[in-house]
């Protein structure tokens, strides 16, 4: 029978109407002669009532219903009795008195309850993902993700962007992350690579004159998994010709505002997204993706502490480093000495050799290093703005260690003291990045964004030497939300001579550059337009908008930390015959599982 309503959307406006519903049995209460069933579909829950008074046969059917059975019912929407109203449900004021019922599918007892806040292992959730995804929380997560793409399609289509698919079976190019490779059967020893991004293809599409391109593109990286990485992830990828950085940032801002409106009904003021220079972000927050929902900015005390009696501070500055501090409001009472010892242990991962700290009281500063800083106490309190009850956390080391340490402490303490307004959506643009980034472990320079990023106009002459190039800054812009990088954009190089210099500064010989990127370099000789773009990470954006802390929660069938998909158990061994490209198969052959839309007519 044809469904008339979603269960979860029925309310008192449907009183006395006959409805046909299908869905899952959430719960069943047999009161003897009267059975209540909570019927669940993707929109929510409605209470069904079965009794001889309504229909004898239906009551009979209800007697054999169990949790997660799939059922179909016809009934009449009626008011619940006064005492039975449930104000937590949209349908809480009504029930459906069932006159016809049918079981469509039975269910074994599920390995976990279909409800939010279950306490089971991720592995079990992933093995029974089709059950896990029935939970309202997961339904909501994936619908937020779907709304992001819907808003994206709508906005970009309206703004003249052309949706163009680029290949997934692509060329392996030397890149930072490891490629997933696909062996070619036609050319043994050759491989396709699953692309790490559509970057080069979208630049070629600008060269082809499409003017505005977009794609919801899957990207692949064979990296060791940790945190919120996945072997495959999704980018909302755009590229535009003949637009400068400001124009692109303005348009992307509008797009993101459309997403925020459709997904979480938030009015983002796209024209007033804060823009912060990379150098300022590092200086003020110690990170290139500052969480601007709260203050607690880093205080530079280097000048003040250059002649400090505290040797650690003075020495750090003498060695060319910095002394900076974070003021933790109310941190003095909150953190015990033991807590701070743990924090000191924690910051060693960022290279800090220890953690200097002070508590501020009405009577001045206290703590192990207080005695060394007595002389500068007033200046210190003035410089940092610290008040009684606050905790001061210091880092004294080279700039990188200071930044990493205080960024981490700032975020951690703010979280622990609940100083972050969780209802805020703090977007920011981080601009004017260095073109290159020095990797001390490897003693070499890499492209800070990617090798196709356009230097600032005035820095172009710097590219004539490798040393000069490493000092250049880029026309690049990252979009940050609540301390997460949502996407990284830039104006691209569109002229071969500039691109060759950039690759040379990365250590490519001219031959190596042309072997890896010849198709792009050659293309630039045929009139490529100025262009720029950005790619937003869909997984991370969905994660943030859904209020989750892991991207697995917004991916239907994610891999686990070992790059395995526990439900299907992929990857799996395959028959030797498949690997060597023979037509023989491991099991009986049958016709294509897919719509044979490619079949030869």
């Amino acid at each position: 029978m044809k469904r008339t309503n979603y269960a979860g959307l029925i309310d008192e406006t449907y009183l006395e109407q006959t409805v046909t519903l299908q869905g899952w049995v959430q719960k069943r209460r047999d009161l003897g002669g009267l059975i209540f069933v909570d019927l669940r579909d993707r929109e929510g829950i409605v209470q069904l009532a079965f009794s001889n008074e309504f229909n004898e046969a239906a009551l009979k059917v209800a007697e054999s219903m169990r949790t997660e059975y799939v059922i179909e019912v016809v009934g009449t929407v009626k008011s619940r009795g006064e005492g039975a109203v449930n104000n937590n449900l949209r349908s809480g004021k009504i029930e459906v008195q069932v006159t016809d019922a049918k079981i469509l599918s039975e269910s074994k007892t599920t390995p976990f309850y279909i409800e939010d806040d279950i306490n089971v292992s991720d592995e079990l959730r992933l093995k029974y993902r089709y059950l896990d995804l029935r939970r309202p929380e997961m339904q909501r997560n994936l619908r937020i993700r779907s709304k992001i793409t819907a808003a994206t399609h709508e906005f970009l289509d309206e703004h003249g962007f052309i949706d163009i698919e680029t290949p997934y079976l692509a060329k392996s190019t030397p890149e930072g992350a490891r490629d997933y490779l696909v062996p070619s059967r036609v050319y043994p020893g050759s491989f396709y690579a699953l692309p790490q991004s559509p970057q080069l293809f979208k630049q070629l599409l600008m060269g082809a004159g499409f003017d505005r391109y977009y794609q919801v593109a899957r990207a692949f990286r064979d990296e060791d998994l940790r945190g919120d990485r996945q072997p495959e992830f999704t980018q909302l990828d755009v590229e535009m010709s003949f637009m400068n950085q400001d124009e692109i940032m303005a348009l992307v801002g509008e797009w993101v505002a459309a997403i925020m409106k459709k997904t979480v009904d938030y009015d983002l003021d796209a024209d007033n997204i804060p823009v912060i220079e990379y150098a300022d972000a590092m200086r003020r927050f110690g990170t290139d993706k500052p969480d601007m929902r709260f203050g607690m900015e880093l205080q530079d005390l280097s000048a003040l502490m250059a002649d400090s009696e505290f040797g650690v501070f003075a020495n750090a500055i003498a060695a060319g480093g910095e002394v900076k501090a974070v003021v933790v409001p109310g941190g003095a009472d909150h953190y015990s000495r033991k807590d701070i010892d743990k924090m000191a242990q924690y910051v060693t991962r960022f290279g800090a050799k220890g953690l200097a700290w002070l508590k501020v009281s009405e009577d001045g500063v206290t703590g192990p290093i207080a005695k060394f800083l007595k002389a500068k106490e007033q200046e210190l309190l003035q410089a940092t703005g610290a008040n009684a009850g606050d905790l001061l956390l210091f880092a004294a080391d080279n700039a990188n260690v200071v930044a990493a340490t205080l960024d981490a402490l700032r975020r951690r303490t703010a979280q622990e003291l609940d100083l972050i307004d969780q209802s805020k959506w703090a977007f920011a643009w981080v601009v004017n990045w260095p073109l290159f980034d020095y990797q001390p472990e490897e003693n070499r320079w890499i492209a800070a964004h990617h090798p196709f990023t356009m230097p600032n106009e005035e820095d172009l002459p710097l590219l004539d030497t490798t040393e000069g190039a490493h000092q250049a800054h880029a026309q690049s812009y990252d979009l940050v939300l609540n301390g997460y990088e949502l996407g990284s954009g830039s104006i691209r190089i569109h002229q071969m001579a500039v691109q060759e210099k950039m690759l040379a500064a990365l250590g490519f010989t001219k031959e190596a550059a042309h072997e890896a990127f010849g198709f792009l370099l050659e293309g630039m000789e045929y009139g490529f337009p100025p262009m720029g773009g950005i790619a937003l990470g869909l997984d991370r954006l969905a994660m943030l908008l859904a209020g989750q802390d892991n991207i697995r929660e917004v991916i239907a069938f994610p891999k686990n930390s070992k790059a395995t998909e526990p439900m299907t158990e992929a990857p799996t061994p395959v028959a030797e015959a498949q690997v060597v490209g023979d037509l023989k198969l491991t099991a009986p052959v049958y016709a294509d599982v897919t719509a044979p839309n490619m079949a030869e007519e």
Copy 2:
């Protein structure tokens, strides 16, 4: 400078306005002191005029412009002189008198002209795809494709479908086509497979209660390429719960109507798409994807010819075969005996042992077999409706050979005689397919659609035996357009017992079935809803709507017939280090080419 207009969209409504334009030099005519440049962007062409009268410096710049240079100009829209009007261009009544000009990029001479109807090899076009795509025809093709997906997103979003991405790194399952395999670095000897369709995942999503799913999904098949196959292709993939075949067909019809409206402004009457039974399609047209833009249906003459004096006919029927004919209107004059000999040669590929034919004149039938059919001439003409001037083409063999032969002759002759109304969009549903299909070459039965297709309700008992199962019919429906299969849909099996029987009838032992599809079979034990869906082939649909005859014309960067992408030359050898999963790379390492949205914060 910020563009004010697309070149191709300027017309006389912009007279006297100052415009800023960017684009490519299509053509340049230097009349000495007066230079005309045709400026091209994605929307079309506008004529620029440079002279000292308008601006000296701009004229100077124009002197060095060459074809495919990228330029930026500012100028005023003016009427062209009477004699200079070009009515073929939207901008043909105006020109832009340029007051400021700048060259943004130079271009070498391109290997072919940037215009429609070029006569160069496909290989050259693919090598310089970024130039090939500049041609107006290719711009239009890819924009039609983009409009199809835009209409799809809009319609399906409005109708409650949730856009859900399924994995591309998936499990290899035994299927008809060969999988592309991706070696796992974590588990040597194990492989991911690039999916041939999201079929099983979308069924699991219905099991998860999403109710309505869709995805613009890439699919992959490592098959020998021919015709319009590509290693990767795109499906517009949908699945719905609790809907029967008629409801799904109705909804898909509306969706396709939305696509037709947005892409080619055609009003498809979705409620009246012809529905034809599979058996009738085979009987009337000899194919399961009939081109219904024209008649020329197959005429069954088996009864008439059972006692024919012409031995070939009588013997075919005696052997259990058929005699059928196609009437080619006006074919008698059009085809010479030599033409028909060629046709006879052509049909051998379908298994036909020869080609019997008759020409109809005012005086009766003529041709080599006319003498054998004299006795039945009147009956024959009456049965076939053939008139003077028509050509009758016969096939006498088993049903498969007759169908294949006459289907091919029907389409070929209609094409050659220009009997097909090329402006027509002839959609049709083909329904009630057999569940299984016998493969004589391999002497085995395969699933006609796929192994997850639900048999007709009344045929369910047939599944209790393998022989019975092979006689069952399916709840499946193909959408056909102008003789092409656009997509293949079906109601799916949602109960484990039925699915197990289906797999058994395909030759799977219970163990093999559970090894290959255990996650699906197990899922069905936890309350799967009734469901069905379809996947439309985006490449083929775009090809038809763009009026092309090869899907390569609607794919930005397709592979050639050797599964190679001539521009990047993928697939390529890669460094040994990459293959064995070492971190060492073949060229200097630099930061990620992609927006590092998966990077650990």
